[in-house]
Symmetry: C2
Subunit: 266 residues, 2 copies
């Protein structure tokens, strides 16, 4: 995303930054280099209904931005941040332990595990079947497939990419209780792979296109769905991040960035 993330840097440690989200409601410790949490994580968290109560897994949580944003807005959510990378899991632990996050620290914990594990290995790693009421995920994009890479590389990246949604949604389906919720954020290019991977696992899918401006193509999609439902797909009205002209956030995007509303109005 080209937009500035909705953060204020308030403190800088060696190699890390501590950024305020939701206008200071919680802090995020994250590496200064590499992927940095921003609006994608806030839009994903905003897909969770404000009335949500129960156990929520943030798969591939990184430093924990989406999971903690959900915990910050949903006062009765208990969040498990599932992260494979030791470095990012360490950030997530520092995030939870940060004094400014004391309001959330009792409702958040880190699980170091690979989202793509299956069967007994998945359970043994702490992701037990039907043990969550909600799952959110922001699967990593494969940057190679965005660039003008050679056909060979692009094909291989494409296969990897399909793999990701199939594997991540297989795990999401296993660990979510019947009628439990799912939310994910992804690029529009992944729509077919996502719909295929949802099929037979989640229903009542709702897609919100995320547009830079109301007259521009979508740069992200947020998809919400319900476990073990046969309900059909709804293509929701879009979210425009900016006002029609200029770089100012739209009022709705600003509310979503700052945890003041849910993306689906519930």
């Amino acid at each position: 995303m080209t937009s500035n993330p909705p953060v204020d840097k308030v403190e800088i440690e060696q190699g890390y930054t501590v950024d305020a989200f939701h206008r200071g409601d919680f802090m995020l410790v994250q590496p200064r280099k590499g992927h940095r949490a921003g609006m994608d994580a806030m839009m994903l968290a905003a897909a969770v209904p404000s009335f949500f109560s129960g156990r929520l897994a943030d798969l591939g949580a990184g430093a924990g931005a989406a999971g903690l944003a959900a915990a910050s807005r949903c006062a009765r959510a208990e969040v498990v941040l599932v992260e494979r990378s030791a470095e990012m899991a360490d950030c997530a632990r520092r995030t939870i332990a940060h004094p400014a996050n004391s309001r959330l620290s009792g409702r958040a914990r880190v699980l170091v595990a690979d989202v793509t594990l299956t069967g007994k290995e998945r359970s043994a790693a702490g992701m037990e079947d039907t043990s969550f009421d909600y799952v959110v995920m922001n699967p990593p994009f494969n940057a190679a497939s965005d660039r003008g890479s050679p056909d060979e590389l692009r094909r291989s990246a494409h296969v990897m990419h399909e793999d990701i949604f199939e594997k991540w949604l297989r795990t999401a389906a296993a660990i979510t209780r019947p009628r439990g919720g799912l939310a994910l954020i992804a690029r529009p290019q992944s729509l077919r792979e996502i719909l295929d991977a949802l099929q037979g696992r989640f229903g009542e899918a709702q897609i919100v296109p995320i547009l830079p401006r109301i007259d521009e193509p979508a740069i992200r999609i947020v998809i919400r769905a319900r476990r073990a439902s046969r309900g059909g797909l709804t293509l929701m009205p879009p979210l425009a991040i900016h006002d029609p002209r200029g770089e100012r956030f739209s009022a709705r995007a600003d509310d979503i960035n700052n945890g003041r509303t849910s993306l689906f109005g519930d």
Copy 2:
């Protein structure tokens, strides 16, 4: 669609009506009862670029509304209206022969054929491989799957529905030349089936969500794609049919209804 179709009845025969489209640019003869052409056909036709020149097939053309609307806006389009029903094909022939359509009659003809034919039967019926530059289609909806029908019936309707996109897009792929165009209009619920049926046949897919109003879920999607392309999917900005409040057509929807612009701005 609940909106009134953008037509003015100007003449009524026994059992038929003759309706003006594009503010009188062409007339459509259609049965007074049953499916009646309206805004769906105009939005489908509007997906064809204004500069289009060549042979265009309207699959399941009915009385010919979409194909003739494309011919009306694209002065160098030659249109083949493919229709299985003898009654609707007869309407299409009457439409082409209508004196008010003399501007179009040299560029339009009717082909009575079943879109779902395959192989030699398809060629023998007049739908020859790679013989078209553009294909448009508005496959019939299965109304049963919209209602609160029993699960058994819904499942069977669902299978029929999947079948339609697979079969119709198989024919579209066969008869479209490489790099030729495809446009279809459908319900959002069919998105997965459509994307699956496009896969390996058409690329560079562009989806326009059609919303009653900008803050309401989509009731239709228009999808455009290119034959034998590997390009990825774009989720385009939506078209809102009505202004935010009230029942007035938005300026853009009114332009599209009346053949004054293309849906994709080209």
